[in-house]
Subunit: 97 residues, 2 copies
């Protein structure tokens, strides 16, 4: 994981609406997390399936396109998913409004 | 479909970065679209699967929570997915930045 990502994680942790940040490898294994480990494992498993579905949807619509970011809003919070080559980042935050 | 949604569709169509708006029922059948019909059918089919996956992910993490909105960013455009009870709205737009 690049120094750039480490820097971003540090920066994100100071945002008051951010509940947790997880970095998960392509096998669904958490590399870094600011959340409780078992909860991270749960997020890792389900967000991995969402990442795969989003990637599949984008390529199905246009095989030359690329999935770059996903924001999932729910009643309780927002989940941000940022796919990278060897891992993906999941940020859990409280809604801004 | 409510008058409120009709009004929203009219409003959205005037946004210069919006490429298309589709309203799709829970069986994946387009109810309304501003896009070419075959392309709408393609979007309807794949976005239906993404809606289901997002719903499943949210409930898997917390059975009392609810999926309310999804934004999927790609290299070429953004896709917004807004689930309602009997249908869902898909907005295709050019990225803002």
């Amino acid at each position: 994981m690049s120094a750039e990502v480490e820097e971003m994680l540090k920066r994100f942790q100071n945002f008051k609406n951010i509940v947790g940040i997880m970095v998960i490898d392509n096998d669904g294994i958490p590399i870094k997390t600011t959340m409780e480990y078992n909860l991270t494992l749960h997020y890792a498993a389900v967000m991995q399936t969402l990442r795969e579905k989003a990637q599949q949807v984008v390529l199905d619509l246009d095989a030359t396109n690329e999935f770059t970011f996903l924001r999932l809003r729910t009643l309780r919070h927002e989940v941000l998913l940022c796919p990278e080559v060897d891992y993906f980042i999941v940020v859990l935050q409280l809604p801004c409004d």
